[in-house]
């Protein structure tokens, strides 16, 4: 990396130091040169780790285009060297390192796609359908075609499913138990086993068609 960039935009953080805090208004984006950063959210009075990212990754990107409250806390895991840019300095960076801009475009692309999919889930009329669609979505993310898949074990937990479905965790737990009783799925410690994904897929599709008709 250009030494000039480091001098202008480089910052260092010690282990445990907060880079930015959830809900803090922000206008800058960060690029990790060295070290690891943990992204967390406080949910029901517990700190949950969303991800741990490292050298070459970007975070805080939502703020680059407009001033928004940060959606998570970023904490240095070890000694971390970062480059911090605001909108204007980022434009300068792109001239020098276009690869970063492309990386950012990819991040946005995947965010948009995820959120579009989430929206599709959320407009389903009932919680069971939402949960089933989340399972379909998770299979799609694994690269599977729900039209061609029957049995599948998904790497997920109640919290993640509840988040994608946009429903409270307690409700989600209850629904999953019911689905288990009806034989559609088996909820294990860290995974969910689906007995017949294709059947679930058809069920959700017909739900969608019925709301479209209304």
């Amino acid at each position: 990396m250009n030494k000039n960039l480091e001098a202008k935009f480089g910052i260092t953080k010690n282990p445990g130091e907060i880079i930015f805090c959830e809900y803090e208004p922000g206008t800058t984006i960060f690029f990790i040169q060295k070290g690891n950063v943990r992204l967390t959210k406080i949910v029901s009075n517990k700190e949950k780790t969303l991800a741990v990212i490292g050298a070459g990754d970007i975070f805080g990107e939502m703020a680059i285009l407009e001033k928004l409250p940060r959606s998570a806390t970023a904490i240095a895991e070890d000694e971390v060297k970062l480059l911090e840019f605001d909108k204007d300095s980022f434009a300068q960076l792109v001239q020098v390192q276009p690869g970063i801009a492309i990386k950012l475009l990819k991040i946005f692309a995947s965010r948009i796609t995820d959120q579009q999919r989430k929206l599709k889930i959320m407009i389903l009329p009932d919680e069971d359908s939402k949960i089933l669609d989340v399972l379909i979505m998770l299979a799609e993310k694994m690269g599977l075609d729900p039209e061609k898949t029957k049995e599948i074990e998904l790497d997920t937990d109640v919290g993640q499913i509840a988040n994608w479905a946009g429903i409270p965790i307690k409700d989600c737990e209850g629904r999953l138990i019911n689905l288990e009783h009806s034989g559609k799925i088996q909820v294990k410690q860290k995974t969910v086993f689906v007995n017949n994904l294709y059947a679930i897929h058809r069920f959700v599709q017909s739900k969608r068609k019925s709301i479209e008709r209304e």
């Binding site: 445990g16 130091e17 907060i18 805090c21 959830e22 809900y23 803090e24 208004p25 406080i42 009075n45 700190e47 939502m62 680059i64 285009l65 407009e66 409250p69 806390t73 904490i75 434009a91 792109v94 001239q95 276009p98 690869g99 801009a101 492309i102 950012l104 475009l105 990819k106 946005f108 692309a109 995947s110 965010r111 948009i112 796609t113 959120q115 579009q116 989430k118 929206l119 959320m122 407009i123 946009g166 429903i167 409270p168």
Partner: protein
């Protein structure tokens, strides 16, 4: 180098949902329509692809199924780029990159708005969360988990962004305390853990604020003047000092618990300070002793209140409720009743 391809009117360049390749296209000539389901209206929206416009970028870059259908209306010529070709072309074109970033972020914002509107519709009234105090809640989380540097960061940011909040004083107090803890740690002295004496409930504290000094009630005496001094330190919020003093007084008095309002007040204050110091079980025992000895005290219900708060803190909500109900039916003090009603 991109390929130039011909498409006849009526044909489809790619379908919504198709997962075949990661090509990006540029319209050179002709007319093509784009059909895309809008996140906000959830209906298919029709638009025309402009000459010189790239399309298929998002799905190509992210390796996703296509999210729109591109149909040829009039015979068209398109440039077809592979993902790699596309990336090398735009690398040097900063303005195009920024245009795309802007377009993406607008799209993302629309989707967020659509999602938020569904979420608020579904959970209306579920969480009455004070939006402006969110940073403070984060600080409180770290503070209660003894992550002081992190709490300091969050509290400082809270103050910067919410300078007129009603919580400013509370946060400043915590910041001062955190600073002294951090400085104490830095000084390298062997860690004799300083007991953090902080009112864990400002309601109870406010309730006791108006207690009169005893000189007005009983006249001068060394123990009385010690107690009055204690009371004034208490009102200033110097709880560490108060707690130390009241324990000394208790030791002086001994185990007998003599008659008289002075002693009632001293023991009640000790109960309260133990509570502030988060020594809940100790406070409960002290209150039991008080209630056993001073059954007719006018301070009995104030002291019982401390016990209820302690039970609540240690998770014995059942016990807490029993005591709150006892307090609510006494006729001594209306302020007390109002406070407890708020708790029930």
């Amino acid at each position: 180098m991109p390929q130039v391809r011909q498409f006849k009117s009526g044909s489809v360049i790619f379908f919504d949902g198709e997962y075949k390749d990661n090509n990006v296209y540029l319209l050179k000539s002709g007319v093509c329509s784009r059909t895309k389901v809008s996140p906000s209206s959830r209906r298919p929206e029709l638009s025309n692809v402009q000459i010189g416009e790239f399309f298929g970028i998002k799905s190509a870059l992210g390796n996703f199924p296509r999210d729109e259908t591109i149909q040829v209306i009039k015979d068209s010529l398109v440039y077809e780029f592979s993902q790699k070709e596309f990336e090398s072309v735009i690398k040097s074109k900063v303005s195009i990159i920024f245009k795309m970033l802007k377009a993406f972020s607008n799209e993302l914002r629309k989707i967020h708005i659509a999602i938020d509107s569904i979420l608020t519709r579904d959970t209306e009234g579920e969480e009455a969360f004070d939006q402006s105090a969110k940073l403070m809640y984060i600080g409180n989380y770290y503070y209660s988990n003894k992550a002081y540097e992190q709490a300091q960061y969050a509290f400082k940011k809270f103050i910067i962004h919410n300078s007129s909040s009603i919580y400013i004083d509370e946060v400043n107090t915590k910041l001062k305390e955190i600073e002294s803890i951090i400085n104490f740690r830095k000084s390298g002295k062997p860690v004799a853990k300083p007991k953090e004496v902080v009112p864990s409930d400002t309601g109870l504290f406010k309730l006791c604020e108006s207690e009169e000094s005893l000189a007005d009630v009983l006249g001068a005496d060394s123990m009385i003047s010690s107690f009055n001094e204690l009371l004034s330190e208490y009102k200033k919020g110097n709880f560490q000092k108060c707690y130390k003093t009241v324990k000394q007084l208790h030791f002086k008095i001994g185990t007998t618990m003599p008659e008289g309002e002075l002693y009632e007040r001293i023991f009640m204050t000790e109960c309260r300070l133990a509570y502030y110091n988060q020594e809940y079980k100790k406070a409960i025992e002290l209150v039991k002793a008080f209630a056993g000895r001073y059954k007719k005290s006018k301070w009995l219900y104030y002291t019982l209140l401390i016990m209820a708060e302690c039970y609540s803190k240690i998770g014995s909500e059942g016990n807490a409720k029993v005591i709150y109900n006892k307090i609510v039916v006494q006729e001594h003090d209306k302020k007390l009743i109002d406070y407890v009603k708020g708790k029930l």
